[in-house]
């Protein structure tokens, strides 16, 4: 399937501080790519650069191809043509995109009319249909309600409806469920998947929640300190992580057991973008650190032994490695990289 988004060697610096340092990944039509990482890893800035919403003082370089068109660092005039039509956006907090003083249906109809000449009645009909598609009951009546009359989950659905109403090629969702309860979270993610499939868009899902990434994404891209440290099919990346950082994240999740035994911990804390260590940015925290790690930053490379569960449909796509890892020590790591992480109480 073709890629709706191709990001190559994307770099974003803010005030001269390199926050995104050479990130590459794809989102294919009809697929979900999760961009995973902790606060400060650069995932939101990557998303904003893709959306053409990087901060004014940010410098964007590298390549961002949206449905074949190069848009990296393009001015708003170019993006204005793409927003809504080519890219939909679902933010973390629905209230940042919904106006408090207009009914939800009117805002959706305005989104429809913003991309082309559509008669009012037709725009309104499409707005109601979009609300129905995201599971809002009695959509005709609810379309006249204001955002504050919606629950958090309903607002997020309305924003999803708005992002998809013009059938874009790509939807970028930045932590779309972080502020919601787990039950509502599951509903919203289901709605997002269904609505997205209906229009056939690719989804770039930004999240720090490994469980969400694992259960809702086809591919995962794990970021640490502005770089990609591991990428591949989501079930493989989280099922048998090969990069020490990914392994540490997976190991630190509470498992299926009872009784509060100590959880494995990644020691230390992530580096500031303004004070990166020499070599691999994860080296100071890495239990498998070796000699080269302190001097040379590792590049993303093929995994030497493709995981056996690799889907046959992925095989043979030579230009698109199924599994990549950026680690000097990848050959020297134990079979279960998560075993590297043990309990360390001190910060």
């Amino acid at each position: 399937m073709s890629s709706v988004l191709e990001v190559r060697d994307l770099r974003v610096s803010v005030d001269g501080v390199p926050a995104v340092r050479g990130v590459s990944f794809d989102v294919r039509a009809g697929e979900v790519t999760a961009l995973v990482g902790e606060s400060g890893a650069g995932k939101s800035l990557t998303a904003r650069a893709v959306l053409g919403l990087a901060p004014h003082d940010a410098r964007v370089s590298g390549s961002v191809r949206l449905a074949g068109e190069e848009v990296a660092g393009a001015p708003p005039a170019v993006y204005r043509r793409l927003w809504g039509r080519r890219i939909g956006y679902v933010p973390q907090d629905a209230l940042t995109v919904l106006s408090p003083v207009h009914p939800v249906g009117g805002q959706l109809a305005a989104a429809v009319r913003s991309v082309g000449r559509v008669p009012r009645a037709e725009a309104r009909r499409r707005a109601v249909a979009a609300l129905e598609r995201v599971g809002i009951a009695d959509a005709g009546r609810r379309a006249r309600a204001y955002p504050h009359e919606f629950s958090g989950g309903m607002r997020q659905r309305a924003v999803i409806a708005m992002a998809l109403v013009n059938s874009p090629d790509l939807v970028v969702a930045d932590e779309p469920t972080t502020a919601l309860d787990p039950r509502v979270q599951a509903q919203v993610l289901r709605v997002l998947a269904e609505a997205r499939e209906a229009v056939g868009a690719g989804l770039l899902l930004i999240t720090h929640d490994l469980a969400v990434a694992r259960s809702h994404a086809d591919r995962a891209v794990v970021m640490y300190a502005g770089r990609v440290c591991e990428a591949g099919p989501a079930d493989e990346v989280f099922g048998s992580p090969r990069a020490p950082y990914t392994a540490g994240l997976v190991a630190s999740l509470p498992g299926a057991g009872f009784g509060g035994g100590p959880l494995p911990v990644i020691g230390g804390s992530p580096p500031l973008a303004s004070a990166l260590p020499a070599g691999c940015a994860f080296a100071p925290r890495c239990p498998a650190v070796g000699e080269a790690c302190g001097s040379v930053e590792p590049e993303l490379g093929f995994l030497p032994h493709p995981a056996p569960s690799r889907k046959s449909s992925d095989a043979g796509r030579a230009d698109e490695p199924a599994r990549t890892v950026a680690c000097h020590r990848v050959d020297a790591l134990p079979a279960a990289v998560t075993d590297l992480f043990t309990r360390e109480a001190r910060v």
Binding site: E38, S39, S215, L249, S252, P254, G259, A345
Partner: protein, 248 residues
């Protein structure tokens, strides 16, 4: 032996809205009771009433056998040293212009307890470097701030901590460190926890018993093992299904 915290038929009202509707539960010594439920179900209102920070409409809150409801603030104050809160937002719960050391010392000053060496001792207890005492919250990471919040809660030597979503604002790798710290402190100091949480995986890992709350009422209370293997209430089953869906 009577429980450390005993809440009986608690009712909390905001105007016409009944936020907490005849809620009863107990927390034993050295025990963790998880209170789970969705936003708006009344779990934080329950916690505020249990901390005697909000006067309930009716019902009883007994701490170590002593009735707290209707007690004059003057008589409550010495008791307050024995139950302390830890909040969700590690930055917001510390003053932005108060150093970590002063934040930890504040409860000691309010209760006129000796300060000498105590702040350093508390910082060591929660795994914070003593050199951080002069820093402001924004100079620390989220995990370090939450450790400071826990140190402050422990300053007066409480028996019960009310933990309101203490790790939900933290990144996954930091979260594990704080959970380990809470487990270790419980073992070392024999603390009881009322643990407010909406993450089922965390509940399973951390709690001894669980009370499930929906629409202001507790719909089910049982041991953590029983709850996860044999849930009784349909709402509990729904919560568990959601978790199963999120972790294939």
């Amino acid at each position: 032996m009577s429980p450390l915290l005993e809440v009986t038929d608690l009712v909390v009202r905001y105007g016409d809205h009944v936020a907490v509707d005849r809620v009863s539960f107990t927390v034993g010594e050295g025990e963790t009771l998880a209170l789970i439920g969705e936003s708006g179900c009344g779990k934080s209102s329950t916690a505020l009433a249990a901390l005697a920070l909000r006067r309930p409409e009716s019902g009883s809150v007994r701490f170590a056998g002593q009735e707290l409801t209707g007690l004059h603030e003057k008589l409550l104050r010495p008791l307050r040293a024995r139950f302390q809160p830890v909040f969700q937002d590690p930055y917001g719960s510390l003053g932005p212009r108060t150093t970590i050391g002063d934040a930890i010392a504040e409860p000691l000053r309010v209760h006129r307890r000796p300060l000498a060496g105590r702040v350093a001792e508390l910082m060591d207890l929660v795994g914070l470097d003593a050199s951080h005492a002069d820093r402001l919250p924004h100079e620390l990471s989220g995990g370090q701030c939450q450790r400071a919040g826990i140190a402050r809660a422990l300053a007066l030597g409480p028996q019960l901590l009310v933990l309101d979503e203490p790790v939900s604002a933290l990144d996954p790798s930091v979260r594990a460190g704080i959970l380990n710290l809470l487990t270790e402190l419980q073992e070392r100091l024999g603390l009881s926890y009322l643990f407010i949480c909406h993450d089922m995986a965390l509940v399973r890992h951390t709690a001894h018993r669980v009370a499930v709350m929906a629409d202001g009422r507790i719909v089910e209370t049982s041991t953590v093992r029983e709850l996860f293997t044999n849930p009784q209430h349909p709402y509990t089953r729904e919560l568990l299904d959601t978790e199963a869906e999120a972790t294939p």
